[in-house]
Symmetry: C2
Subunit: 198 residues, 2 copies
């Protein structure tokens, strides 16, 4: 006997979450409908609100509810240091480790010529505008330590150096192949402390 | 720097899902906002629809979009066999195994005197109405093989026998594919006690 259509639809929708397969999605669905309809409604409302309210910072691409995010508009941050990351989630990991007090620029990805992602797609022109205003004296490259992340860091470091600005790379304290979002704060701290000139 | 309020709220809401801690919830949140806003909207809509449409079958308590669920209203099911389960999710597991073609009754829990859950809370009166209409000749007790599930099965079996109806219990034993080395001693005891001639 097939399950109710609304149940099947919910199972399918939840299966799109990262780390959630059809079995977990079914478990979640029955849990919500049997035991936590209030919680289910909270999720639905929170998703709708987040989608409506959260966009990208016009300066750094971080996720924010404002035009300019709280980091870019903060006066207590060191605007001489600019950290380049691939995604907002990775920016957040660095923030939680409390090891960097400068500003960020989020690439929203990495160079990947085979997928048609070049400098333009990563908004490198927007980054150049930031660098050309003359405040930044160091760019910390915190892209992932994957092949694509390294290539992206290398590309940007050349561009940065041409402008007479110091380019540094976070240290290989982070395991090769690792993604910043899942690294513990101590390793992240080591990586920031050990950054080297490129 | 704190995350956007809408992001924090979504992380908290997702943390209520079974098997999802704060870290997975954060990962899901950023995944949805960065990469799959369409999928996020699907989840929100599917939850709202499921909450609105899906209720309990008036006869068996299964989750359904109708007054009487598709199993109870099917003419191809054997209405002489009635299977008792604790939850709609467990009913669905049995359906997916395609091993039972009778009807169900979902208790929505198990007897648990300490939590104030007695026969009334489990809708045993509703079950009695079903049994008293004279069609059922066997009640299969498929409550969980936990202490509470066993107590519940025992309680219902007495009630069923008093009405002159056969009460059966699903078999205890070693799971298919199970290796004896890793089976707990209670299960092994049950497996030996319940051994059958080959």
């Amino acid at each position: 006997m097939a399950e109710s259509k609304a149940i099947v639809k919910l199972i399918e929708a939840l299966s799109h979450l990262p780390g959630v397969g059809p079995k977990s999605a079914r478990r979640m669905t029955y849990f919500l409908l049997e035991r936590d309809r209030e919680g289910a409604r909270d999720i639905s409302v929170a998703i709708t609100e987040a989608i409506e309210k959260v966009g990208h910072c016009q300066q750094c691409n971080n996720l924010t509810e404002y035009d300019i995010c709280e980091i870019c508009s903060s006066k207590s941050r060191d605007s001489k240091k600019l950290c380049i990351v691939e995604t907002p989630a990775e920016l957040q990991s660095i923030e939680q480790a409390s090891i960097f007090r400068g500003l960020y620029f989020v690439l929203m990805g990495h160079l990947s010529p085979l997928d048609g992602i070049g400098p333009e797609e990563l908004g490198i022109d927007k980054l150049e505008v930031l660098l050309d205003n003359g405040e930044v004296d160091e760019v910390v490259l915190a892209t992932n330590l994957t092949v694509e992340g390294e290539a992206t860091a290398h590309y940007i470091s050349e561009l940065v150096r041409k402008k007479g600005i110091l380019a540094t790379r976070i240290a290989h304290g982070v395991p090769v192949g690792g993604e910043l979002e899942y690294i513990d704060r101590n390793t992240l701290t080591e990586a920031f402390t050990g950054r080297r000139q490129m």
